[in-house]
Amino acid sequence: MKKDTLKVANKILKSRLIVGTGKYKNFKETAEAVKASGADMVTVAIRRINITDKKKPILTDYLNPKKIIYLPNTAGCFNSEEALRTLRLAREMGGWKLVKLEVLGDKKTLFPDMVETVKSTKILVKEGFKVMVYCTDDPLFAKKLEDQGASAIMPLASPIGSGLGLQNKINISLILKQSKVPVIVDAGIGTASDATIAMELGCDGVLINSAIANAKNPVLMAKAFKDAVISGRNSYLAGRMQKNYFAIPSSPKKGII
């Protein structure tokens, strides 16, 4: 059987699970959870370095960017300018061209501002970035992003960090039907079975942070997500049975005594 991999821009990922690196107790736990998840790619944020405490550990000491793909994000950016500034800095840091764009529009829901998101995608693609784009589950905007050259569409399942799971399967399915680039569900997944549901719908991958980092045992939850994503993918590839309104016996009628 052909190896089932996920191709995003020019990267080939063995795992369809991408994990975030925020909210962990410490870097040791982050590294252990990432390892248990089996992910090839992790999202990272860009912030000011602590100049007063030179001995403070930093992320790159625990997760080697040469061994795992760093996906710089623009978390916390509320307009196009901030997002572009952040990603240009990320590119300068180490040649990262594959990035995750998120332009937030509202502090309470952290829903993306899709007008600014489309605008930013256009500029970034022009500048040579490969952009994976966090977006609402609106098929029309997803199409616009793809038309602007997005490398992956990343619709939310529900608000970031909410753990509410996949709330609009129909919209995600519509996005899947129309997209030629990978569709990776980002944000809102609460537990392993939510990821399975997304994968069974045919999503190309899922991005998880809070559901792992906020679990009582993040390392075990990372492993649960690894298995859940594999199961969901296999289930999608295998093709589920038809749903029927009435029972159909599993044992043959012939030879009943």
């Binding site: 982050t30 860009i46 912030r47 000011r48 710089p72 240009r88 800095l89 960090g161």
Partner: protein, 67 residues
């Protein structure tokens, strides 16, 4: 001396320091970082050529955990 703003904090540094010298002072010259000098990104090849003037604003960023 030059009064500059580094990562939002006002600090005093020696006059005529290059970006590279500033990074060395904070032991950041070997770290994975990126620099903005008065709003423009400084490429690594220019760290030794770019001098810091009085009232300049410098931002040094790196990767942290994020979702």
């Amino acid at each position: 001396m030059a009064k500059i703003q580094l990562n939002g904090k006002k600090i005093l540094i020696k006059s005529n320091l290059t970006i590279f010298q500033l990074l060395k002072k904070y032991k950041l010259h070997n770290k994975k970082i990126a620099i903005e000098h008065n709003g423009s990104i400084v490429s690594k090849t220019n760290y030794k050529k770019k001098y810091i003037k009085n009232l300049d604003k410098i931002e040094i960023v790196h990767f942290i955990g994020g979702g």
